[in-house]
């Protein structure tokens, strides 16, 4: 019952209400829209606020205990991506390209999810470990790199198999492999120097340097206005999601189910694993949310170049139109309830039992 109450309470927060309002505005074909400059500015602002917040927290708690959670997060993210691929390819019967594109979209992390999560925790009066912002930065390009690597390997293999049936000419395989290398290094370079990671890492470093005292003069912009800024961004997200509502029919039943079950499953695993690693109630929620989130701002930009054969209408629509609303309305309170539950009362042995069962 407690979970239902939490979901209900979450539904009536300004963030969710404005998101739903955006959807309604798009459905009634209103010409309401957030000016382009602002909707481009807000992700940068949100990432800067996340980074500053993380950097300041890291100064307080130190970052020597961040390495293990980070490596675990990397491992989980890669594992989930491969798992998604198997599910989509074998059960969903999607083609190779769509499968990898979708797998990485759901293996990747979403900064908007993260912002909503932070504001949700703030609302609940719970804090989280600052280094999770650093994990966000590290995870950002990871799933894509894996998916692009796997796709190119698969394509190279196909070319090889085809070639061998005709002749033993290896020239084209080399071309394929070389293309893979240039593609990967390009994606790596573009993601690391991309605006999202640069602003996030830059703000973490600056937050770490300035600490709580240095943050005081800019607190009004980067802390007090944070939730308000998300609300404005949510109108835009709602409008875009609303415009895509018709496309959901094209996504199909399988992908719709996938877009709901997978985040819930990944998120739960994330909460349990991070709790076992000793993260706080809020930290485990954020860790779980990272695992649950799907990328819809970074994904199209990366995947359209790296796996152009994949249909963007599939991965954008499912991530933005289904998973994002579901996550911020339902998954987030559930993860919070699970995290609270495993942090209170339950002993460590039970906890590990949960985890082994989950795997």
């Amino acid at each position: 019952m407690e979970i239902l109450e939490l979901i209900q309470a979450n539904l009536l927060t300004p963030i969710i209400l404005f998101f739903l309002f955006g959807i309604v505005a798009a459905r009634i074909k209103s010409d309401l829209k957030i000016p382009e400059a602002i909707s481009e500015f807000l992700p940068i602002y949100l990432l800067a606020a996340i980074g500053l917040h993380g950097g300041i927290e890291m100064r307080n708690t130190g970052f020597e205990n961040m390495l293990i959670p980070m490596f675990v997060a990397i491992g989980l993210s890669l594992l989930f991506t491969l798992n998604h691929y198997q599910i989509l390819r074998r059960l969903g019967k999607f083609n190779l390209f769509d499968s990898y594109a979708l797998a990485s979209t759901y293996g990747a992390v979403g900064a908007v999810h993260f912002s909503v999560g932070l504001s949700f925790l703030k609302n609940q009066g719970v804090s989280s470990e600052g280094y999770i912002a650093a994990i966000l930065a590290v995870l950002e390009p990871l799933a894509f790199i894996l998916a692009i690597f796997m796709t190119n390997m698969a394509v190279a293999k196909q070319i090889k198999a085809k070639k061998q049936s005709f002749s033993d000419d290896a020239a084209e395989i080399d071309i394929g492999l070389n293309q893979t290398k240039t593609k990967l290094s390009k994606v790596l370079h573009e993601s690391i120097t991309g605006k999202a990671i640069v602003i996030l890492l830059g703000s973490i470093v600056i937050g770490y340097i300035i600490g709580k005292d240095g943050f005081e003069p800019i607190k009004i912009v980067f802390d007090d206005m944070f939730t308000g800024a998300i609300v404005i961004f949510m109108i835009e997200m709602g409008i875009i999601a609303g415009q895509r509502l018709d496309d959901i029919k094209k996504v199909g039943v399988f992908l719709t189910a996938f877009a709901i079950i997978i985040p819930l499953f990944n998120g739960t695993i994330g909460v349990l694993v991070s709790t076992a690693l000793g993260l706080s109630v809020g930290g485990a929620v954020m860790f779980g949310l990272l695992m649950a989130s799907a990328s819809f701002i970074a994904a199209p930009a990366v995947l359209r170049h790296a796996i152009p054969q994949a249909k963007p209408s599939l991965y954008i629509t499912s991530a933005l139109g289904i998973t994002f609303p579901f996550n911020i309305i339902v998954t987030l309170p559930i993860l919070f309830a699970i995290s609270t539950f495993v942090h209170n009362g339950e002993g460590a042995i039970d906890l590990f039992y949960f985890i082994t069962e989950g795997f």
């Binding site: 382009e36 409008i239 875009i240 701002i297 199209p300 359209r304 152009p308 954008i316």
Partner: protein
């Protein structure tokens, strides 16, 4: 006033294909082009709403006829299958042909 005949290649495509096109132009040693963001409707539905990544872009390039064939061939071979893209060629007159 003497006008020299060259070709104007106009490409309307999704914004995420812009980089590929510029790369192809570069490969054929064409460095001059003009781009602008546009909205529109087409085979892939209404474009230009919402996320910036879903906008369309228009690329205009003036080139000599000798190069045109290769450029168009490469664009159609590498981009037509996977991207929202339309291209067309027109005859234009320029004053300084040595620029192209």
């Amino acid at each position: 006033m003497k006008l020299y005949n060259v070709k104007l290649l106009t490409i309307t495509c999704e914004i995420l294909a812009q980089e590929n096109i510029i790369e192809i132009l570069k490969k054929h040693e064409i460095t001059g082009y003009t781009t602008y963001e546009v909205d529109g409707n087409g085979a892939r539905g209404l474009r230009g709403q919402g996320l910036k990544n879903e906008k369309n872009i228009k690329v205009e390039v003036i080139m000599r006829e000798e190069k045109l064939q290769d450029v168009v061939e490469e664009i159609s071979r590498t981009l037509f299958a996977n991207y929202a893209i339309v291209l067309y060629v027109t005859d234009v007159g320029v004053l300084r042909p040595e620029k192209f």
